[in-house]
């Protein structure tokens, strides 16, 4: 089974999150831009697990997920100068690249929606359970994951569901409405309200800006 019940939705006591490894990440990116393969190797060790996790989750294929990992870091290698710290941290930028690669792959598949919708397993944001962590994983990343999962757990399930279908399955709102049989207006409202609520929660906990 590819999907694992890995994430935890149990609300936590919230305090200011730990500071991200901004300086280390940005220093690594700068080194990569100058052709330092050791810096790229360090970034790979830090984020390859996250990239592989999301790719495997979205594509439901070990082999394709491995290709996404390679392609993600190849892009980092060739386009590191395009990184803009003002628009988010390195992990957001790097995982954003991986997400786009997965969406591109999903949209090449005609039956991309079936993968999620036909699954009997609980979906991503509803399947959050405490899982094991690699000893090599950054503490910041691990704690950030818990905070975001906690925020997601506070969104109504139907709103979390449409966000998941859009983000992980690459479906548009019309496609979600078509596949779920619900009104398009209802889907739009859930997307809008769900993301606004998530924005407010994340801002309140200083995970993102306001």
């Amino acid at each position: 089974m590819l999907r694992q019940r890995e994430l935890n939705v149990v609300p936590q006591t919230h305090s200011d999150p730990p500071a991200p490894p901004v300086l280390q990440d940005e220093a690594l990116i700068s080194a990569v831009a100058s052709g330092d393969t050791a810096a790229l190797s360090a970034l790979y060790d830090r984020y390859a697990r996250a990239v592989f996790g999301i790719a495997r989750r979205m594509l439901d294929s070990e082999q394709t997920a491995e290709e996404v990992v390679q392609d993600t870091f190849l892009r980092v290698w060739h386009r590191s100068e395009q990184f803009q710290a003002a628009r988010g941290g390195v992990p957001q930028w790097l995982l954003g690249i991986a997400h786009h690669l997965c969406i591109d792959e999903l949209r090449r598949r005609k039956s991309r929606a079936v993968m999620v919708l036909n699954s009997d397993e609980p979906q991503l944001f509803e399947a959050m359970q405490q899982g094991g962590h690699s000893v090599d994983e950054e503490v910041w990343l691990r704690e950030r994951r818990q905070l975001i999962r906690s925020a997601l757990s506070e969104i109504p399930a139907e709103q979390r569901r449409v966000i998941e279908l859009a983000y992980l399955s690459g479906l548009t709102q019309s496609e979600i409405a078509s596949h779920t049989g619900e009104a398009l207006g209802t889907i739009k409202t859930r997307v809008r309200l769900g993301l606004r609520k998530l924005r407010d929660i994340l801002a309140e906990r200083h995970i993102t800006g306001t």
Binding site: L40, S41, A50, Q70, D71, Q92, W93, G96, Y167
Partner: protein, 313 residues
């Protein structure tokens, strides 16, 4: 009216349909507040992958990655572009020499530009020909329209003339009708008088009194036909010349010193005349009758020009 801010969350999530995506991107180009809103929601969306449980890829993935990077150190773009998953359509171009590709590109661009210019020239010629044909057709139409307008003006003038002639004829006919109507009324009145006269003259109790010419009018004579006890009577005369329009023959009845104007005698061209009169009292009460020449028919006393006279006793 669409509130574009409502679409920003779905756009950041990549969930808008293509038409909505086009619209929101047009507004994003000109609306800084929308762009700021988009940045906030993108930050939210970018946190989502952090929630997914990581998993360690096989070690061979990293080895293959760095092998490709090492290969790309020789041909960096070729190594990167050879990825089948991400850029399958660019694979053909990697092995071509740069100069050859550049030359092909220049030739292709020049050929494309020449073909485009020639196509535009042909299109311009065709368009010009179409415009000339349209101008010629418009001129023909204008000439035909001018002829039609001339024809219509001439027809209008003819209709006006015919209408004026018809009005003149109508007026003439109306006048003629009035004259005919008056003449018919006169004839009817005369017929009625004649009928009354004939009825009167056919009575069995009819009495006749002669009217004799005065001195100087020997050819004139007449008769008055009367019936006892009645106020009406008939006068017939002959040998009287027609008078000009300023004079009339008036018939008078007299009793003692009183004269009564009893009517006007109508004289035909042959000198004959008649009068069906209605006296104010029975004609038996009058002793004298006479015909005089007067200036008008409404006089109350007879003149001295007596042309016929007779006794009624």
């Amino acid at each position: 009216m669409t509130d574009w801010h409502d679409l920003i969350p779905a756009y950041a999530l990549g969930a808008l349909d293509p038409d909505e995506t086009i619209q929101i991107e047009q507004h994003l180009r000109v609306d800084a507040s929308l762009r700021a809103e988009l940045d906030r929601f993108r930050a939210v969306v970018n946190t989502l992958p952090l929630a997914i449980e990581p998993a360690g890829p096989p070690a061979r993935v990293k080895a293959a990655l760095f092998a490709k990077i090492a290969a790309s150190a020789v041909q960096p773009e070729a190594a990167y572009a050879s990825r089948a998953l991400l850029r399958p359509r660019q694979r053909w171009a990697v092995g071509l020499g740069g100069a050859f590709v550049a030359a092909l590109l220049v030739i292709a661009l020049l050929s494309s530009a020449l073909y485009s210019a020639n196509t535009q020239l042909q299109q311009a010629k065709a368009t010009n020909q179409q415009i000339l044909q349209q101008v010629a057709a418009a001129q023909e139409q204008a000439t035909a329209a001018a002829q039609t307008i001339g024809d219509l003006q001439r027809a209008q003038q003819q209709i006006r003339a015919e209408l004026a002639s018809a009005r003149t004829n109508e007026q003439r006919l109306a006048a003629s009708l009035i004259a005919s109507t008056a003449e018919l009324q006169t004839i009817n009145a005369q017929i009625e008088v004649n009928q009354d006269t004939l009825v009167f003259l056919a009575a069995t109790d009819l009495a006749t009194r002669p009217l004799l010419a005065s001195v100087g009018d020997r050819n004139a004579q007449g008769s008055m036909f009367m019936r006892p006890g009645r106020a009406d009577a008939v006068v017939l005369v002959r040998g009287l010349p027609q008078l000009d329009q300023s004079q009339t023959y008036q018939f008078w009845l007299a009793q003692g010193g009183q004269q009564v104007n009893a009517g006007t005698l109508i004289i035909d061209p042959d000198g004959t005349g008649r009068l069906l009169l209605k006296a104010p009292a029975s004609v038996d009460t009058f002793t004298q009758a006479m015909v005089t020449v007067e200036r008008n028919a409404s006089v109350s006393l007879p003149s001295t020009r007596v042309v016929l006279q007779g006794s009624l006793s």
